[in-house]
Amino acid sequence: MVLENKLYDVVVIGSGAGGGALSARLAHLGADVLVLEGGPKIDTRTDFNTHALPYQFPSRHIPIMKPGKPGFDGERSRGLGGKTQLWNAVALRLSQRDFKGRHHDGAGQDWPVDYAEMAPFYDRIEREVGVCGNYDHLEDLPDGIFLPPVPMKCTDVAIRDGARTLGVPVIHVRKATLSRPTATRPACHFCGNCMSGCDVVAKYNSLDVHMLPALKTGKLTLQSNSIVHELAVSAEARVNEVRYFDRETRAQNVAKGKIVVVACACAQSVALLQMSKSSRFPAGLANSSGELGKNFIPHITAGFEAFLTPFIGKPSINEEGFLDHAYVPSFMHSKKRGYPRSFGIQFNYQNQRSVGWAKNVKGMGKSYKDAIKARYPAYLTFTGYQEMLPNPDSYIDLDPAATDEYGLPRARRHWKLSDDDMRLYNDMKKWCRAILEASKAEIINPDPAPTTNHEIGGCRMGTDPKTSVVNEYCRAHDVPNLYVVDASVFPSSSEKNPTLTIMALATRTADRIASQLQKGEA
């Protein structure tokens, strides 16, 4: 229980990648930090159904949590660690081209920071979380501080050899999963169930790697089951109350901090600011620009499924490893093309506990059953991830009609692809098919429709308060003691997975906040 009159140095809302890295850094720097997490307390080692099999459940769905263990039951109430508990841990640095895309090809928005500014913070985060990968010396995917890479699967090698005939690079995946043990965490044991909660914490999660160790400072308070629904502001346009209720009892409460950090994972951060209306900010908190919720730029994906024909009929082997072991980094950015930006390809990350593709194999009877058995060792996913540019039809808002289980408005995601986005999408599909064909793959779905993944944008970072929500240190232009630290602040999405950059921004923002507290400027 928090005493209502306690004034923390910093109140952090959300405990995922951004909230975890930031709060741990601040606590180590001596700030008095309260983290409010909407979901329950989680014990990573015992609460997840990491090793369950589908037939243990009549519905054949494996629930995320073990019976009686709450968690991950809604967008606002995931649990300590947030989505880092279930992520696939791909950890890529953005490149100078990603930060300065407009400078590079004339479209979208540049970041107010560049790679040289961010590099030391990537270094720090990689040391803290542990990232395995190969030193590839690519101009567009900067190397980091790596643990040894994990060998590619035989199926990856087949893709690599096929892609090579087209001049397309295939590299070792870079993941925040340990390929060798540290003093406190074991190395990965390759059970293949990474996205079901890593119960040994070989895979990074913000609870076990960042926040629990920071409790030793005595400066960090983790408070779960606390759903924040409003940030109230004073006459001086400073956040003076963080209003929340208990997830179970619904009892209302208030937390106070000199500084407040919103880190609720993109759409939920936007929604919280949009819900925090006041006479000073009638269109939502920190929204004098009218840009809050706009510039929603999730990754657009083309999800192929295929069978690698050289593996059809081979004996079933266990090569799940830690899901994907390889990656196709961006290569189109340096080629002549009819659109801005580029794409990367993540592949071979299926978990072999589920065989959902079986229903789509043609035929029936014994030949059908034999075909599935033969194809089981040959199946793989192959998904292009592209950068989307901002457009007026892609934004986050609050549903005026639907509320969630807590009576709070639901965040809605609207997205539409522009002609440029579609040109890129179609070219990405063409390259995916070409690589698969060059690798002797039989493609199950040659023409997948675009879907979204990795929510990005909505609180754009920029130097101009008229066109952006937060400044280059993630501080709201309108509200001097309010920060936003998650992928909602990204001015451009890159095609690379966002989490490592969220953490690098978080640790950099923590330094900034600590120095302000020290100088008494907060």
């Binding site: 037939y55 009549p58 035989c154 599935i372």
Partner: protein, 172 residues
Amino acid sequence: MSTYSSDRRSLLKIFGSIGATCAYPFASDELYAQTTAATPEMASHFFNKTDFAVISRLADLIVPGAIRAGVPEYIDMVIARNAEQQAVAADGLHWLAAKNFTQLDEAAQYAILEPLCETADSGDLRARNVQFFALIKSLTADGYYTSRTGLLDELHYHGNTPHAGYPACPEH
């Protein structure tokens, strides 16, 4: 602007309760969405005895061994909580009853089902009886390959075991 947008997402859903999302572990967000769907565990007594026998026979023709793996009970449980699927199943069962399906020998049963299977495989789901076949095939595949028999005995799933390291691919 292209026709692809958030509004189209609902059109991409397909038949079957486990569906493409299960085969397709995108990222934590997707995984999260698929496994938090409410799944009340229900007793498997939706179909009456006659209809259950027909469903069982269909499942075993689509995947030999499906009855022994408990697939009909799974199909019953899924359809019991989906009104749309119940309507498709009712029409399909009615259509098969008119053909005296259960009285026919295996070859004759195959002769009825194979054209439906071919049409369903071609992606043409306009006809009601094809929808019915596609539904039962989809649920049979999901039920069988999530069963112990299907996943372990048939496919020899070896995952979920700890390894000291990950060996490099020996052939390369």
